[in-house]
């Protein structure tokens, strides 16, 4: 399986704290790779480095062969890597439909001159809305399309976050705890969606999760991070039966 996303010996320090301390990983194309670890292990920081919010102090991150360490978040997204946030950051003052319609890349209407190419913009808006409406329906959010995002429940906001990420039509999706705060039903929906997107659209996923049933069911391989470093990696079974992993998770 070709590797589409690679992190080599990445370090990130904050003052004296080593948030990411020489972490490496490989994400294969069209795979759903999992990243687990106890709280504070450095997973979200690693995501932030990968997504461009921080630059790595040392080490390399590459995506499709290009080095992306040090690029701005918007540049990285344009290249095809989209991430979601641990606590869903919906744009509360905008409506649900505005949130998802914001996402698609390279919209003509997004430059001041392009905004006046009426025919182009109208065409694109129609196309994007068709896609968005379908997505919202699957996520069960269609009924709330005209609601302000801040009025959604926690689980709904997570789904909105994921929908938005999907609308950017990425090649790789970094999901930070996509089912946190979601109900059992919503969790099932999200898991099914991830699988479907991988199968039908060929998306690659890197998922940080705490819920074991999610990780073990859909992710393969799984990396375990501890204190900013690699602890173990392998198939779900391998990771589950790994001594060190069990120690760290205290029977998890």
């Amino acid at each position: 399986m070709a590797s589409i996303f690679e992190a080599k010996e990445v370090y990130k320090y904050f003052g004296g704290i080593k948030a990411v301390d020489g972490f490496s990983m490989d994400v294969g194309e069209k795979q759903i790779t999992g990243l687990i670890g106890p709280n504070g292990a450095g997973k979200t920081t690693f995501f932030n480095v990968a997504a461009g919010i921080y630059s790595p102090d040392r080490g390399e991150i590459s995506f499709k062969g290009d080095r992306i360490g040090g690029l701005r978040p918007d540049q990285i997204c344009q290249k095809g890597l989209t991430r979601t946030f641990q606590i869903a950051r919906g744009l509360g003052e905008m409506t649900v439909w505005e949130n998802v319609m914001l996402a698609p890349k390279r919209q003509t209407g997004e430059s001041p001159f392009g905004a006046f190419s009426f025919r182009q913009v109208r065409k694109q808006e129609k196309e994007h809305w068709e896609r968005a409406a379908g997505l919202l329906q699957e996520m069960g959010l269609y009924g709330q399309r005209n609601e302000y995002a801040r009025n959604l429940s926690a689980g709904e906001r997570k789904m909105l976050e994921i929908s938005r990420a999907i609308m950017t039509d990425p090649e790789i999706l970094l999901l930070d705890e996509p089912t946190a705060g979601a109900t059992v039903d919503e969790t099932k929906k999200i898991m099914a969606e991830i699988g479907r997107l991988r199968d039908e659209r060929g998306y690659t996923f890197l998922v940080v999760e705490h819920k074991m049933e999610v990780i073990m069911n859909i992710c393969n391989p799984i990396y375990v991070m501890h204190n900013g470093q690699n602890l173990a990696d392998g198939s779900p079974r391998e990771v589950q039966t790994n001594e060190q992993v069990r120690e760290v998770y205290l029977g998890g």
């Binding site: 439909w97 505005e98 319609m101 914001l102 996402a103 997004e110 905004a115």
Partner: protein
Amino acid sequence: MEYLLTILTIVGIYCILGLALNLHFGYTNLPNFGIAGFFAIGAYTSAILTVPYRFLEMEIFAGFPGGVPGRIEAPFIVGILAATVLSGFVGFLIGIPVLRLREDYLAVASIGVAEAIHFIALNELWLTIGSAGIRLIPMPFANRYLFFLIVLLVLAIVYWVISRLVRSPFGRVWRATREDETVTASLGKSIVRSRMWAWVIGCAFMGSAGSLWAHYAMAIQPGEFVPTTTFLVWIFVIVGGLRNQKGVLIGALVIIGLFEQGTRFLPAFGAPYVVPALRLIIIGVLLVVFIRFRPEGVLPERATMIEDHMKTI
């Protein structure tokens, strides 16, 4: 009737300033306290290009083919277009360092910029004739009624352009940036580009307003482009409704129309400076009260439904 026309013309020009500020602060969260500066750039540019007498007597122009450009005397349309473009361009140059600043630092920086422009207007006599000001600026068609229509036309254009931009995907990016930069960036939008465009377009329109002012008043002086002017615009934008263009227009009509101009007809009590000072005091109090009790203004922003959006896009 004449008098009403005067008031409405001034209100119209202030409306343009207000819509531009609304673009900056209402839609993009860029507190621009240097409005007077861009207003001045527009006014002076238009004035310098259109006055029917010799100007710009500087050695550096001596090398021009034909010697010092005597009378440029361009038509009004050139004046207003040049004012708009130059104001936008200066906005761009200033925006490069300024837009990175945190909101209150940006506010202070923009005040500084406006003061710098005011200083140049006051002291660079070769460019602006200093405090005596520039006179005999021609009003197009020399007809107040027609000029009012011109003001309305420019206002309509500005209103429509901003409206279109806000409803477009571009406007979505502005509003998203305003709310949460990190998320917007994570969706692949360039924050810098989107902000800079808002800034430049707003400054350009302030320049247009400046040009209209110069041709309406037919004489300008540095003393007109002071923080008080900036402040007035802020007041009626906040009172009328941030992020709602109609609200801005209403705010301008009420505050500028009734207050600034209407009270000119009340009997002046005390010395001549008392009534203007009183007006400003009331306006200052109004600002504090509004921010305290109703910061979203009279007409707040409203959400659009997807169905309506698809019909009007």
